[in-house]
Symmetry: C2
Subunit: 169 residues, 2 copies
């Protein structure tokens, strides 16, 4: 395999109350933690303003860390139609911001993300957090939302490395 310029991946775990984000450099099979965080819009502002807050905060993360690609978790679809609708709104902010910055945006189901990081699609949050600490020791302490976002970035790193191998075969 040829040496590969590291690809910087932005992972996003979207939510209206909290959107987790994580940036990881991926050079072949090597993963390097860059940064992570959680975006929490003030809850007392109007709905459109909360979405704008998410959109602008994701755009600011992109401006600061200049990722090459983005990956967004396919959020759990709730039985409650009203909360599903809200989730869709929040997720759009995490999709439009990187698309607007010209990044390719991949989407991964939560089960695919868990499988990539823990080895099983049925893993719980504590297992994801444990594996993020092992795979990205430089990340230090992460909240569940940031750990999930880093896990999405790792799932994308794996998927694109697998594609590169297939492409080279």
């Amino acid at each position: 395999m040829n040496p590969i310029r590291p690809t910087r991946i932005l992972g996003l775990d979207p939510g209206l109350r909290r959107t987790g984000w994580g940036v990881v450099d991926c050079a072949g099979a090597r993963l390097i933690h860059v940064a992570h965080g959680v975006i929490a819009p003030p809850q007392e502002i109007a709905f459109a303003e909360r979405l704008l807050f998410l959109f602008e905060a994701v755009s600011a993360v992109i401006a600061e860390h200049a990722p090459d690609e983005a990956a967004v978790e396919e959020t759990f679809v709730n039985n409650n139609a009203s909360s599903t609708l809200k989730l869709g709104h929040a997720r759009a902010a995490s999709l439009i911001a990187p698309a607007r910055a010209g990044l390719p945006v991949a989407e991964y189901a939560a089960t695919v993300v868990k499988k990539a990081v823990v080895g099983t699609g049925g893993a719980d949050k504590s297992q994801v957090g444990f594996m993020i600490a092992r795979l990205l020791p430089a990340a230090g302490k992460t909240t569940a939302d940031a750990a999930d976002a880093l896990a999405v970035a790792i799932a994308h790193a794996h998927a694109r490395t697998a594609r590169n191998f297939r492409g080279a075969a």
Copy 2:
């Protein structure tokens, strides 16, 4: 009542396949049609790109017509969770774009919009189209999506005039 500088209102009827928009000037009880149209993103592009298309097209309408305020229909919540989630995404594009342009963004339930235009919350699409042709004769022929968007703008015009009357009392 003092003479009022016309307020320009952008009405939006969001949808992933078609987002209707309509711009109306409102001076007291007088309504003047400015423009309307339908945004239909290409369906073969990636989901994030379709959302970006909606976002940028709504932003372009705002740049061209310079509305003072925006009003967005509260889209029907479907029983199908997956289409409800998609609807949420599309709606976010119609909320973030005007919020980003600094416009106040109001939201109105479909029943409130129909009641404002037709007089009953249970009106069907043809009744809305008929009343739009009566209230805004300059609009000419409108598709259902554009008529709905103009109806949202009218509903907002009525609501804000009612607020001004209350404010003046």
